[in-house]
């Protein structure tokens, strides 16, 4: 009997506080917030509908998954169980979206064609908590790059399958997508074009500027003072400032051109900074030895300095690309197009789901770019 009481605290030890906290947050969100919202038309804000009313059949699965994850927080911290938690959380993401799609069908069935079922606060909290659990689980399981890619692809494939099956068609977000179908892929492509069209010139200009700042000590101050100054101008102001001079030059003050110029200017500082930090951080005796053995300046740069600075350079590139994807949303204000056009149109119409149609893909693009560049950096570091 004494041994039984002594064993109790042992068996209830929380081995993963992060997992427990996230599971509790998800459980509270399901209990207290609406899982979806129901509105008579797309312009009126909806009324929250709780999970058990919205999805009586798949709701219990969600609750069971959340409870199972909370239970895993008490399990012994071994890699297989961390991986299992990540898998359950990935399932939770897919099931939650499936439940929301089902709820939209059920709730919309008795209503007029104008009625809209949107994703509620409870849904978003569950999805966010589940995504964090996936990341945490893979980290604790010390998953390699291949496993991480496999996880990401599996989740994306499941969600794509769900969308293709028509299970989500009743959701307001999908209505908005269907209304814009032609425009959506064009907007995504334009968004990517704007990001690439500003990051690539920023690299072409920023890397030489960063190099110059470490090769010529005296140029360092002016270069970074200028770039820092550019960075402090609010993006909307910079877009606005470019309108007049470009219009005066006859190049058009609105549209993609001023957006590309402004986005390039913003990307210059992080590019130049990480170039200077990466190449300037290399032990000077290494370059001295390379020179002393008869490497040319170009050979030293490409064979020695760039590979050694690669982790820092790629970390800088990650920041630049993610920042550019976000800023490009704002560029829609001056008619540059891209996903931001849905965001601002939605804001103008007070249609939250149209805002989401622009914001969600932008977030996913940023996450995907971040993930890919992280993988690249990991493979370079070896």
């Amino acid at each position: 009997m004494t041994s039984a009481t002594a064993a109790r605290p042992e068996s209830l030890r929380v081995n993963n506080q992060v997992l427990l906290a996230l599971a509790v947050v998800a459980a509270l969100a399901v209990a207290l917030c609406g899982f979806v919202t129901l509105a008579p038309n797309r312009l009126v804000s909806g009324k929250p509908v709780a999970l058990w009313q919205a999805a009586p059949s798949s709701g219990p699965v969600i609750i069971a998954l959340v409870l199972a994850l909370a239970g895993l927080a008490l399990a012994p911290p071994i890699r297989a169980l961390h991986r299992f938690a990540a898998m359950l959380a990935a399932m939770l993401i897919v099931v939650a979206l499936y439940a929301a799609g089902g709820a939209a069908q059920r709730l919309g069935a008795g209503m007029s064609a104008l009625a809209r079922v949107s994703l509620g606060a409870g849904f978003w909290v569950v999805i966010a908590a589940a995504a964090l659990i996936v990341v945490d689980g893979l980290q604790r399981a010390a998953a390699g790059p291949l496993e991480r890619v496999a996880f990401a692809l599996a989740i994306v494939a499941a969600l794509a399958g769900l969308a293709a099956s028509g299970a989500l068609d009743a959701l307001s977000l999908v209505h908005e997508y269907n209304n814009r179908q032609g425009g959506f892929s064009a907007a995504v492509i334009r968004h990517i074009e704007l990001v690439a069209g500003s990051v690539l010139p920023a690299i072409a200009v920023g890397v030489p500027l960063g190099l110059l700042s470490i090769r010529r000590e005296r140029s360092r101050g002016p270069i970074f003072v200028t770039l820092n100054l550019l960075q402090t101008i609010p993006s909307i102001a910079l877009f606005g400032l470019l309108i007049a001079p470009l219009a005066a030059l006859g190049l058009g003050g609105v549209g993609p051109l001023p957006a590309l110029i402004a986005l390039t200017l913003y990307a210059l500082l992080p590019v130049a900074r990480s170039t200077a930090a990466g190449l300037g951080g290399i032990d000077a005796t290494i370059a001295d030895a390379a020179r002393g053995m008869g490497m040319t300046g170009r050979q030293i740069l490409w064979r020695v300095e760039v590979p050694l600075a690669a982790p820092v350079l790629l970390a800088g590139l990650r920041i630049v690309v993610v920042q550019a994807i976000g800023l490009t949303v704002v560029a829609a204000l001056i008619g540059a197009g891209g996903l931001g056009s849905f965001v601002f149109e939605g804001l103008g119409q007070d249609a939250a789901d149209l805002v989401l149609l622009g914001a969600l893909p932008a977030i996913l693009l940023a996450l995907a770019a971040d993930f890919l560049l992280q993988l690249l950096a990991a493979s370079v570091r070896r």
């Binding site: 032990d283 005796t285 290494i286 001295d288 030895a289 390379a290 020179r291 002393g292 053995m293 008869g294 490497m295 040319t296 050979q299 020695v304 590979p307 050694l308």
Partner: protein
Amino acid sequence: MIEIDRVRKTYDGRTVVDDLSLTVPDGAFCVFLGPSGCGKSTTLRMINRLVTTDSGTIRVDGEDIASLPEAALRRRIGYAIQSTGLFPHWRVEDNIATVPRLLGWPRGRIADRVTELLELFRLAPETYRRKYPHELSGGEQQRVGVARALAADPALLLMDEPFAAVDPITRDALQAELARIHKSTGKTIVFVTHDIDEALRLATDIAILNRGRVAQFATPQDLLENPASDFVRDFVGTQGIGLKLLSVRKVRERMRPGETAEGAPISADAPLRDALSLMTVRAAALLPVADESGRVVGTIALSDLVR
């Protein structure tokens, strides 16, 4: 042969090398010795044009180095430095192969040369060629650094305080190895140090530098016996000068040929300092002396040391 002819170097009005002339004969182990700031490192770096001369000329094997393309000049001169300068992202074999690759040697020849050099430095090729520099000890890194400098078999090797950053025991082993390699390859070595004992141990010729000028250029023994100035006398150090003299003279110079004595013999090529040490340890005033083959060829007595 390296002929340094009246070279001068000024940094921001401060003269670092001042009208310096010096001729290093082929096969010499020439040590530039002096206090910090005396211009020894700058002079060394002028030979492979890492530092440009303000005036004067330097000729290597009769050719004015200013007339040669920079990179080509450096590829035929070995270069090793204090912090090794090994490329941390390259394996040992890639580091050693640096200059042969720049010279476009075929792959097989490079691989053979790497193996040969690792063996020369007593690093087992199969264990070491695939390692990264951070996986090596300080002494091993320095060996690889010197092996890299020797990779393309240059006739001339420049070494800038290569052993200054390693512990005394490792330094001792590295010095012995370098002496062995100098003897077996016959390369011309120019070596910079501020350590008088290292210079006495390794050099065939020592150039003592002071304020950018040559204070004295002589053999180690000559330097100890006939210092040219008070500066040289002070730098060489009056304390322990007798022991330093014993460390530059060989047993062969003082031995009595044909005689024999009891006990394990000392090598005829060992410094007299070792003989004194051995006598102290054995409490013996007489030691047998052996040649390279281990055959006893004579004796050396305590009184011979002070003749």
